[in-house]
């Protein structure tokens, strides 16, 4: 039996596997045992009720999909009265994912979301900041730091910053989140992308652009995780195209302390629990006592480890 426990800042998790926001809902409880997950991460919500983007919202592309959902939200009251009590029936910590349109609004919502039963708040910083010409919060380091710091101050619970991959240098953003007091960064949200129907000359999603998710962009997100892990000392939660135990191991070797599984759950509802079992078996096979030892254990060319004939890992 491998020790699957890990730490993300103040939080102790039973294992490093949790759902990605927007790909997980109460209905899934009919299919998998939520008590087995490392944490529970429901859909991002906003203070106000929002209807979301026009349909069609989904376009399958090779190795993934382009989704333009647009954060439909039932609002803060629904979250506090329905979502929190529902997820508190399960043992894993509840991570609330929130979004707002200005740093001040983020902080205010974080303050109201930090209720009993919410173990941490994940800031979905991939949404447009109305004070910065609609550019996503996590596209600008200073905004990221300001928003995170304001939320840390307003909410008496750990803050995680979920970053957007639509940047040139993510390490600057990750450092800003760390500077602002985030206990972890989640790397990352979907890539801004497009799909066009050649027959009809029309975009395949109603909002013209959407987020590319699934295995297709995985190698790029893996690279972001590797770079961020070298730039910050807070834990990194890898997220992008993870579907198997091997994907999870790759992310952990690159420097992730934990992972989030998104689109893969749509294809295989058991993906997360299969990965948890797989990590146990993988570590046993490799003689690794604690899964946390995988984090950052990548063997780089030119190092003493790489020179060993029989790599221990």
């Amino acid at each position: 039996m491998t020790d699957l426990r890990i730490r993300i800042g103040d939080l102790a998790l039973a294992n490093p596997v949790m759902p990605a926001s927007g790909t997980f809902s109460p209905e899934l409880a009919a299919l998998i045992d939520f008590n087995r997950l490392g944490a529970l991460v429901p859909k991002t919500f906003t203070r106000q009720i929002r209807q979301g983007n026009p349909e069609p919202r989904l376009a399958e592309v090779p190795g993934g999909m382009v989704a333009s959902i647009g954060i439909p939200s039932k609002g803060l009251d629904y979250f506090l009265t329905e979502t929190v009590p529902f997820y508190r029936r399960f043992a894993p910590p509840l991570i609330a994912s929130i979004s707002a349109e200005t740093p001040a609004a983020f902080a205010e919502l974080a303050g109201e979301t930090a209720v009993e039963g919410v173990a941490a708040i994940e800031l979905n910083l991939s949404c447009p900041n109305l004070e910065a010409d609609g550019r996503a919060f996590a596209m600008v380091a200073s905004t990221t730091e300001k928003t995170v710091a304001a939320c840390v101050k307003a909410a008496r619970c750990p803050i995680w910053a979920k970053l957007t991959p639509n940047v040139g240098d993510m390490t600057e953003i990750a450092k800003a989140a760390e500077q602002g007091g985030a206990q972890a960064v989640v790397v990352a949200n979907g890539f801004l992308a497009m799909a066009i129907d050649a027959e009809t000359f029309r975009p395949r999603v109603g909002n013209v652009m959407g987020g590319l998710t699934g295995p297709a962009p995985k190698p790029i997100i893996l690279r972001f995780v590797y770079q961020c892990a070298r730039a910050v000392s807070i834990p990194i939660i890898g997220c992008g195209g993870i579907a198997t135990t091997e994907d999870t191991v790759e992310y952990m070797l690159a420097g992730a302390a934990a992972v989030q599984v998104g689109t893969a759950t749509f294809v295989d509802p058991d993906a997360m629990t299969t990965i948890i079992d797989g990590l146990d078996a993988f570590c046993a096979r490799k003689g690794i006592a604690r899964v946390a030892d995988l984090t950052g254990a990548l063997i780089l060319p030119g190092t003493a480890k790489a020179a060993e004939k029989e790599p221990v890992l």
Binding site: G22, T23, F24, S25, P26, E27, L28, A30, L31, K43, Q51, G52, P54, E55, P56, R57, L58, A59, E60, V61, P62, G63, G64, M65, A67, I69, P72, G214, P215, T263, T265, F266, V267, D268, P269, D270
Partner: protein, 280 residues
């Protein structure tokens, strides 16, 4: 196969406790038969809870990897038939793109990974005398199990079968075997024209409830008739899906309610909706 029987046919109740809970099941293919030029029937071994699926409910099928562009997401397919004695579940599938082509390549003994039953099924009146099914193309697969359910309640069942060409789907004998009368129309000879279909339907003896799937135009037409006839109607909608479980919010259909657009998820709030709400 069971069916909900209620006096009112509105479908606002989500998560009806009596409906079987979905789960992931892997069954072995026991048959794959072409049914016309563009359709095939896939028979698969399934456990009792999957076979308890109701007409209008669907399964999310994982398409086997095939060719150089495998289908990544699952594909939703309605319950077509369930044979509890034989432990056999059937789908009627139209060849559309890569996912359905991959499913068509399944042979006896191959495994099929299914999640279901999903969504809310159709509702039948308590003592129906005459039920009308109005379907086009693959929508006929969704309506078909209502024929058996209606007959089991002692009702006369009439099915309007609309196809692009008569040869594309050979479903008339299957309806006949269920004791259902069919009105066959197609685009090739122009008989599927809405005005002509409307005339056909208006000549029918009184109908107690009507059901539609597979064509927006036919559903709109039927909605008008249901209003005139003062009878309830339901429509099963189709939208591309990712999760099929209510998690991704991707499969929404817009509804106009009190002057506002609200989006409802076809996979969990539907796929069966009140016809009058979809086509007010």
């Amino acid at each position: 196969m069971s069916v909900a029987v209620r006096t009112t046919l509105t479908n606002d109740t989500v998560g009806d406790a009596a409906q079987p809970r979905p789960r992931r099941v892997i069954g072995a293919i026991v048959g794959n038969h072409p049914l016309g030029e563009h359709y095939f029937r896939l028979d698969v071994g399934a456990p009792a809870d999957a076979l308890a699926a109701r007409p209008g409910q669907f399964f999310h099928l994982r398409c086997p990897p095939r060719g150089d562009q495998p289908a990544y997401l699952r594909r939703p397919m309605s319950l077509f038939a369930a044979d509890p004695q034989g432990g056999r579940l059937s789908f009627l599938i139209k060849l559309v793109g890569k996912g359905t082509r991959a499913l068509a390549g399944l042979g006896e003994g191959d495994q099929l990974d299914m999640v279901g039953p999903l969504g809310n099924g159709f509702t039948l009146p308590l003592q129906p005398r005459h039920l009308l099914l109005v379907g086009r193309g693959c929508g006929l697969a969704t309506l078909f199990p209502l024929a058996k359910a209606g007959r089991a309640l002692g009702a006369r069942v009439t099915a309007l079968v609309s196809l692009s060409r008569p040869a594309s789907l050979a479903i008339e004998p299957l309806f006949a075997a269920e004791g259902t009368e069919t009105l066959l129309v197609n685009d090739a000879d122009g008989s599927s024209d809405p005005a002509r279909v409307e005339r056909l339907l208006k000549n029918l003896p009184p109908v107690d409830a009507a059901y539609s799937c597979g064509s927006n135009r036919l559903a709109a037409l039927l909605a008008g008739l249901c209003k005139d006839w003062r009878i309830p109607g339901q429509v099963a909608l189709e939208e591309p899906m990712a999760c099929g479980l209510g998690a991704c919010l991707g499969c929404v259909h817009p509804f106009r309610e009190e002057g506002k657009t609200v989006y409802r998820r076809v996979c969990v709030e539907g796929p069966v909706f009140d016809l009058a709400k979809v086509h007010p």
